[in-house]
């Protein structure tokens, strides 16, 4: 039986979380569970719970980063072992830190959690001018574009980029999500962004919510 609580506890195992998760995975597979169901009913709810506790300040960045890394490894192992592709399950997100800002951590956390949750993530990097975001939209046809900023000055660059994306996206197909330490929900709304993530986990939850997926 797939028990998300067991996966949750395994992610947070003090000694060897990876080994404990692999053991649970193997057990579920030997019971005849489908890899897709293990991901949907076991791994993803467990990671969502870790994210939720992180947002509440009950879990910390080392646990979040580490869990994201293990999740990614598990997904890769399941994919390679069972020729299993789940990329079609959720959408594509183009992620970048706006021009003038070289901060990586928040954006990378979003990428890690989004990927672990089943999104296809295209990380176009840091210090990205608005034209590069537009080019990436042309190339990857994403459902979401995520913009990150840490400095107050680059929040203004964020405004410019959101404006340009919205101007080009006449059919309103793309949802723009913004985040970063100084960014607030009011600011996100003011600059015309569709979604605001108060932290990495919240950002991914909001994108899932926008796709009608309940956490």
């Amino acid at each position: 039986m797939i028990d998300s609580d067991e996966y949750f506890k395994s992610f947070l195992d003090e000694d060897n979380p990876k080994a404990r998760i692999m053991e649970t995975l193997q057990k579920n597979l030997s019971e005849g569970e489908e890899p897709f169901h293990i991901i949907q009913k076991g791994l993803i709810p467990a990671l969502d719970r870790i994210g939720d506790q992180f947002s509440q300040g009950k879990l910390y960045i080392p646990e979040l980063i580490h869990s994201g890394k293990i999740m990614k490894e598990c997904l890769e192992w399941l994919k390679s072992s069972f020729k299993f592709d789940r990329e079609q399950t959720l959408g594509t997100i183009v992620l970048g830190t706006v021009k003038g800002d070289l901060h990586d951590i928040g954006k990378n956390l979003v990428g890690m959690i989004a990927e672990a949750s089943g999104f296809k993530v295209v990380d176009i990097g840091i210090d990205i001018p608005s034209e590069k975001f537009l080019e990436a939209i042309q190339t990857y046809k994403p459902e979401f574009v995520g913009l990150s900023a840490l400095l107050t000055t680059t929040m203004l660059e964020m405004k410019k980029t959101v404006g340009l994306i919205k101007e080009k996206d006449v059919k309103d197909k793309i949802k723009v999500i913004v985040g970063g330490a100084p960014v607030t929900e009011q600011f996100a709304e003011k600059i015309g962004a569709d979604l605001f993530g108060k932290d990495a986990v919240d950002g991914v939850m909001k994108m899932k919510g926008a796709m009608g997926i309940k956490s």
Binding site: Q56, L102, T153
Partner: protein, 359 residues
């Protein structure tokens, strides 16, 4: 100084008096609410003074003319980018062309035992105390020297690179412990020497241990590897009866009780989007003096001088009665804060901060 003095407008009649700060920390009402920022970007100081700030005399002149009762000075390793080497560090350029240095966020300079051993570690003697003594000799009547020290956690992650550091913490790598111990010993040796040799008015321990949702790492980790160093400096401050202020960005609410036990009697900068200054004042009363909370994003960076004036007025009205509050930005005065807004903050303190508060 031949500038025309206009009541309530800069340049104004200045009467620096560090006793004002001490009274505030004693939760008494001095004549006026003091200013409490400890960091102003060089570009902003120069714009304020209208001339380069390249020596200690001009540095002191800035803090005096900006209405402060103290001159803050940094000590020890701050951002390794500035004091050790720039190999692994990147730069952000702000709008005014100033350069902002940041530590590498992935892989830093020390990620293995071999790199730890090879690293060109500074010694306490590499941080001479002459400049603190020189500042003391330059202080106008009534002003004191304050020192920003206490970075233990921040240099550790900056030296390792953030992601490497967080993974190492999760995996309980002995390298993290070794690194924190080495930094702690170095920093404390520097601090001890300054506190013994100089007449320091107050200490600001500046170490960012929190982000917007809470602490970066488990409190147990901080208790074991970081807090003991805070306490050692706190013990000296307690013996000398000088204020000891904890600065951390982000939400540090969960460990406020412990910080008080470690010897802190003030906190800064109380980020308004994640910490409720009114709740903190209500809960901790006279145990903590509060510094900060004037929002760097809005109004300081993106608002008008009138917005700034109003925010300062409200904060003074709500928090300053009974002492225990110093007006300061919710981070620092960065190069991108318009000079008119910085001036508006100072002027509002002189306009609304006179005790008894009657707003």
């Amino acid at each position: 100084m031949n500038e025309k003095i206009v009541k309530g407008r800069l340049p104004m009649k200045l009467n620096p008096d560090f006793n004002r700060v001490i009274a505030t920390f004693n939760h008494e009402e001095p004549d006026r609410v003091p200013l409490g920022d400890f960091a102003v970007d060089k570009e902003k100081k120069e714009e304020f003074l209208g001339k380069p700030v390249n020596d200690l005399q001009t540095e002191v002149e800035f803090w005096y003319k900006a209405g402060f009762d103290f001159v803050p000075m940094f000590a020890g390793i701050l951002e390794p980018a500035k004091s050790i080497g720039k190999t692994a560090f990147s730069k952000d350029e702000d709008k005014e062309g100033g350069v902002r240095e940041w530590a590498d966020e992935k892989k830093g300079l020390i990620t293995t035992d071999a790199e730890f051993e090879r690293f060109n570690w500074p010694t306490p003697e590499d941080y001479p105390i002459d400049k603190y003594k020189e500042v003391q000799s330059l202080l106008p009547q009534g002003m004191k020297l304050c020192v920003t020290m206490g970075k233990i956690y921040t240099p550790a992650w900056m030296l390792m690179g953030a992601e490497t550091f967080f993974m190492a913490v999760r995996e309980k790598s002995p390298l993290v412990e070794k690194l924190l111990d080495r930094i702690g010993r170095l920093q404390f040796a520097i601090y001890e020497r300054i506190l013994e040799s100089c007449d320091v008015g107050a200490v600001l321990s500046s170490d960012d241990i929190a982000h917007n949702a809470g602490l970066f790492v488990k409190p147990d980790f901080l208790r074991k590897h970081v807090f003991p160093w805070y306490k050692k400096t706190g013990d000296i401050c307690r013996d000398k009866k000088i204020p000891y202020v904890c600065h951390s960005d982000g939400k540090m609410t969960d460990v406020l009780d412990e910080l008080i036990e470690l010897g802190f009697n003030g906190i800064h900068p109380i980020q308004p989007n994640v910490m409720d200054i009114k709740e903190i004042k209500e809960k901790y009363g006279k145990k903590l003096t509060l510094l900060g909370n004037i929002n760097l994003e809005f109004p300081l960076s993106l608002g008008t001088p009138e917005d700034v004036r109003e925010e300062v007025r409200i904060r003074i009205k709500e928090i300053a009665p009974g002492g225990g509050y110093l007006v300061s930005s919710s981070n620092s005065i960065t190069s991108y804060v318009p000079i008119e807004n910085f001036k508006a903050m100072i002027e509002a303190v002189f306009e609304f901060g006179n005790y008894p508060i009657n707003l």
